[in-house]
Amino acid sequence: MTKVYMDNGATTPVDPKVIEAMQPYFSEVYGNPSSFHSFGREGRNAITEARDKVVELIGADYTKELIFTSGGTEADNYAIKGVASALEAKGKHIITSAVEHHAVLHTCKYLEKRRGFEVTYLPVDEDGLVNPEDVKDAIREDTILITIMMANNEVGTIQPIAQIGEIAKEAGVTFHTDAVQAVGTIPVDVNELNVDLLSLSGHKFNGPKGVGALYIRKGTRINKFMHGGAQERNRRATTENVPAIVGLGKAAEIAMEGLEQKQEKLVSLRDKLISGIEERIDHIKLNGHREKRLPGNVNVSIKYIEGESILMKLDLAGIAASSGSACTSGSLDPSHVLLSMGLTHEVAHGSLRLTLGKYNTKAEVDRVLEVLPKVVADLRSMSPIYNG
């Protein structure tokens, strides 16, 4: 069975050129970059090169503004807890949105429950958009951090970050954006976006898992998250993961070179997929903003059936996708993102996310458009709430 992978929002295959770049750093150039000798020096130089590439990808001004982490989650934890800890004497109010990734939401909840912070969770409209005016209105005397994601991982909606950034700047409030879904797929420039902190993760754009970065604008007050040795200019302890960092650098380089082309390809596949689904299946609803949307994201609610069973049927046909149904996560409530956008539990349960990556083809989109309608018909025929 030919398999079709359309879960690039969850993770992506590592580009062969990235694997190749990493290879020497496992057993040839294996020295600890903090070590004094030639083995360490070579690793150190490799990290410097990788950092330059990532810095360039996000348009940062200084290489020292970029700290490597173990992924997007650590970058989010570091940004939010680090700023909270540095500024808690100044204030204990944080603004975020209801549709953030759990790496942001659960970190905010931790600060609320255990560290005495107050958090405002801004609502979104039916497309998943945060209103910049709401951000402005939510800012208080004691607001020390605004954290709003750049692009939503479930529904693909792209937030007006530059505008929110301007508001934050004017108010003098530190602004973080979780750009894990954006970096490497759409243009990201920390200066145009007016952000002080930005999280990214390698495995979302054909880089390795287990590595990400936090951009920290010069002058931003932030405390450490990982205590220990003086690595990363004494900002993040632990022996540098040289192969992964080199891989992230290579992925950044590749992403930058091919950004426009990749975007165009994904948009065309995405729009083909969306219109194909809309033509072939009734009682569906596209989730997320139709235009302000990640190039590779398709998210539809398919009424009267449930997400996990859709995924299972697709999986049996060799198609990998994901869902915001509670049933895929073993929890009780479906996606907090879909519920925040006003979907009923019932409709949210029937959501399907297909996320395209740079290796997907037109033929694969066709295959999905062939299989999915059958799956839906099959499940609807079993559904006690469908009166087809």
């Binding site: 991982n153 509670a326 009780l332 709430i385």
Partner: protein, 143 residues
């Protein structure tokens, strides 16, 4: 995650459909819970002579519905009443822990269909089954 038996019943569910002129019909769950199961039974000589189901829900929900119909078809009403959700899960070779409670309601649906046949009223089981305490940090992974 699922046993071969679950997958078999999910791919080839037995006794899907409605029964026209059913002697008893039972529904448990609601769409908010993520699972709805509806069971139709025909009874003759105190035996379940025919049974069908319709299910909105995940793989486990569909498979448990399917095997439950198989387990009781031809059995006496009393035997059918004694079927437990646990027995259904066991017949499938087990279910993932997360699925033990929320998608394993087929025996309940059957019981409601029998009650309906017997002329008894029962409440919807969803609230009971779904709202055990859970903590905010305990959500699934969004990826």
């Amino acid at each position: 995650m699922y046993t071969d038996k679950v997958m078999d019943h999910f791919e080839n569910p037995r006794n899907v459909g409605e029964l026209e002129g059913a002697d008893g019909v039972g529904t448990v769950g609601n769409a908010k819970c993520g699972d709805i199961m509806k069971m139709y039974i025909k009874v003759a000589d105190d035996k379940i002579t025919d049974i069908k189901f319709k299910t909105f829900g995940c793989g486990a929900a569909i498979a448990t519905s399917s095997i439950a119909t198989e387990l009781v078809k031809g059995k006496s009403v009393k035997e059918a009443q004694e079927l437990t959700n646990k027995a259904v899960a066991e017949a499938l070779g087990g279910l993932p822990p997360a699925k033990m409670h929320c998608s394993n309601l087929a025996a309940d649906a059957l019981k409601k269909a029998i009650d309906n046949y017997l002329g008894l009223e029962t409440k919807n089981e969803c609230e009971d089954h779904h709202h055990h305490e859970h903590n905010d940090f305990d959500h699934g992974c969004s990826i």
